[in-house]
Amino acid sequence: MKNIKSMSISTIIIIIITVILTIWADLSKPLKDFLASLSGHHWVTKSLIAIILFIFLNFILSKSINQEKNVFHEVKKVIWTTVIGIITISGFYILHYLI
């Protein structure tokens, strides 16, 4: 857990995958049912995917990516991805409810 660049990239990928899975599973019942069949509940499966992928990506990336000197540069990317992720998920559910 010492390579901050690999951790930042892992966090960004986790957020993007969570957003994609959330919207896709809400639009596709077969995918939601498939996710639910893996653990008993679609949200639990999404949580487990996020945890496992975070550990796996961080492990793989930390071996192949050099440490970033400018941490702020990495964090800015994480923060922008987070903000866009929040807007996308909340915007999707607002539109989904209204339409």
Partner: protein, 156 residues
């Protein structure tokens, strides 16, 4: 049982928010002692968020979907579930990973923090986004509870 799990989930979430506010304050003007306290606060905050994830997740899966969601959807504020629960359960997933990232930066760059303003800014910005998301979670939790209470009052 239901209300105690919600209370535990909310308490842990709010304790996590307070812990990252503590990190933020310690790092406004960092010294060796303040950085050490910030590391401790970030560790506490991360543990609180992980426990909040477990308690909230257990309640959501075991109780909410069966007993609360149908009542809210039949009540006068169905958007409390359709918009706020759906958004809350998924955006929450960002929070533990942002907390782990913050804690890792603090642990790795604890000495650098005293002389590198960019590293300090990175952690301060992460604390701000964590506290904002935490506050959003608390606000959405309130709206969901209101949706449930309103539905019960309406006899849904």
């Amino acid at each position: 049982m239901v209300s105690s799990l919600i209370a535990i989930h909310a308490f842990l979430g709010e304790a996590g928010i307070i812990a990252f506010i503590w990190v933020f304050i310690e790092l406004l003007n960092p010294s060796k002692e303040r950085v050490n306290r910030a590391k401790f606060a970030a560790l506490l905050g991360t543990i609180f968020f992980l426990l909040s994830w477990l308690s909230g997740g257990y309640y959501y899966v075991q109780d909410y979907g069966v007993n609360v969601k149908p009542v809210i959807k039949e009540g006068p504020q169905p958007w409390a579930h359709s918009i706020f629960t759906e958004t809350k359960e998924h955006v929450f997933l960002f929070l533990p990973f942002l907390a782990i990232l913050t804690l890792s930066i603090l642990k790795k760059y604890d000495k650098d923090l005293l002389k590198n303003n960019n590293t300090k800014k990175a952690i301060l910005y992460l604390c701000i986004i964590i506290v904002i998301i935490g506050a959003l979670m608390a606000g959405m939790g309130y709206l969901i509870s209101t949706g449930y209470r309103t539905a019960l009052e309406a006899g849904a």
